[in-house]
Amino acid sequence: MSRRRGTHVAAVPRSLAGDAWRDLRRSPLFLTSAAIILVLIAMAAVPSLFTDVDPRACDLAHSREAPSGSAWFGYDLQGCDMYSRTIYGARASILVGVLTTLVIAVVGSVVGMVAGFHGGRLDALLSRLTDLFFAVPMLLGAVMVLATFPSAVGTPAWQTIGKVVLALGILGWTTVARLMRSTVIQVKQSDYVQAARGLGAGAGRILLRHVLPNAMAPVVVYSTIILGVFVVLEATLSFLGIGLQAPVISWGTAISEARSYIRQSPHMLLFPGAFLSVTVLAFIMLGDAVRDAFDPRLR
């Protein structure tokens, strides 16, 4: 979005997003995190680029073998190659993060926008509803949803992933809704919205063309940071044994399996744990960079 706007309006003063993009391209924080994230996305999309070992070709004879020259990350309990499984594990983890972020960004934005723009009774109702969901701790709520719809070992991968996304999404949208509501209330009173209204634009047009583009920034920043948090939450749920399940390869399931053998085979925990941490780090750094670029007060 930002790139299109940046070049599109070259002659007129740049938009906020255009300015932000110009700042971002010069920020080392952004460049580093973007590079890490690109590698991770490549890993998730085409894992065979990074390894030619089949993550499902396991040999029990190698069970829990320590890292060596032939298997850099060692082997897991079933004797599968840990390096290959860690590479392939990126897909499920990142998929959960991206999908959940999309769900909460859309749901939260719609709720917040309607509440902020409409105001009155509807606003009061939606805000109280947001409060309710906000009061339930996220991990706890997700555990409850997943315990009610448990995934068995044979469940297809997309179903297991879908359940985790839903469980996290049900409680995750509240902050986006609050952010959106408060910015929409601010934007609603600005002159250009009044002008559009005066020219006879309908509510839908005002919302989509004028309010939404100008109220997006905080949601974009929040979404970037929270994506990493969702990756961690997925891993935490899998660690507790109720998130993703066996046929799905993910960092969380690997760590969950490693738990019982941490004393004898710490490599089973350390490698997926390290990949998980670097992913989260990259998204936090990206979020910081995007926030700096979007926050006019810091200019």
Binding site: D131, L132, A135, V136, L139, V143, M144, L276, V280
Partner: protein, 308 residues
């Protein structure tokens, strides 16, 4: 002040009712046989199913069953689990441990978090400042269960400095390691918050005035700057305390701490609905009350914010 507290308490009522309803609906109204696996490998005898259906009002429509539940809750009766254990007693047994664990965690946040934040904030751009910034970023990105497992492995098992698990004996010494793990994430936030707040306030007008009128450095920083800088930090720690009192599923699980988090997780996985609804109700109540308390302390620390 009194009116403010009353208004906040009244506003809590719909939130508590709504939240408990969400939990209640999640536990009881979702598809799935509540008796599945309850009687071992065989299906439950009809007499047992009948008795339990009556006891938990499973035949009533959801809103009615919920109102009945709420009614007994208001009389202080949390009900009994499927095994006939009193939910109230179980909660009373688990809560002291969780409170102790939360206090240990808060102590770490204050000591290390504020300490590191002050060191960094007083010397912006120095080596210590950069060290604090980088290390907090690293701590924030490592998931709690990885930190927990790794520290348990090295400090607990390999080097034997701290007990690796807590078990039945929840003494303060046993809770040091889990408390530190529980605090790690917030500790990093506290350090960063202290640093930013301190650095901002050092440029404030009243600090310049204090320096200009010749107060010694110690007094300028120790009294004028510090008092104002710590206000947001104290709010954060207070809110965090409220969240910690809700129990920590992951940390309590790793270190086998017999607290509320463990209790809730166990009852969720065994689908012990009464225990889950009871525990979560208490948890949400505590969370809301602590937050109210934090807001009151905030007004007291910073008289510019009035709750008139």
């Amino acid at each position: 002040m009194g009116r403010y507290v009353t208004r906040r308490l009244l506003q809590m009522i719909p939130v508590v009712i709504g939240t408990t309803f969400i939990i209640y609906a999640l536990v009881w109204a979702l598809p799935g046989d509540p008796f599945a696996g309850r009687c071992g490998a065989r299906p439950c005898p009809p007499a047992y199913v009948q008795a339990m259906t009556d006891k938990y009002n499973l035949d009533d429509p959801l809103p009615i069953a919920y109102v009945k539940y709420l009614g007994s809750l208001l009389q202080g009766d949390f009900g009994e689990t499927f095994q006939g254990l009193s939910v109230g007693e179980e909660l009373l047994r688990a809560y002291p441990t969780t409170v102790k664990l939360a206090l240990v965690a808060i102590a770490f946040e204050i000591l290390i978090g504020i300490g590191a934040g002050i060191l960094a904030g007083l010397r912006r751009g120095s080596f210590i400042d950069n060290l604090v910034l980088v290390s907090t970023l690293v701590v924030v990105s490592i998931p709690v269960f990885v930190i927990g497992s790794v520290l348990q492995l090295f400090l607990g098992m390999r080097w034997g400095i701290f007990p690796a698990t807590v078990g039945g004996d929840a003494s303060l010494y046993n809770l040091i390691l889990p408390g530190f793990v529980l605090a790690s994430l917030s500790l990093a936030y506290v350090a960063r918050l202290t640093r930013t707040s301190l650095a901002e306030n050092r440029r404030a007008d009243y600090v310049r005035t204090a320096i200009a009128k010749g107060l010694p450095q110690r007094r300028v920083i120790g009294i004028h700057t510090m008092r104002n800088s710590l206000i947001p930090v104290i709010t954060f720690i207070g809110a965090d305390f409220g969240a910690l009192l809700g129990g920590a599923i992951v940390t309590e699980g790793i270190f086998n701490v017999p607290g509320v988090g463990n209790l809730i997780f166990r009852s969720i996985t065994t689908r012990d609905g009464v225990m889950v609804t009871g525990a979560v109700t208490v948890l949400v109540l505590v969370f809301l009350l602590v937050n109210l308390l934090v807001d009151l302390i905030y007004g007291w620390l910073d008289p510019r914010i009035s709750h008139g």
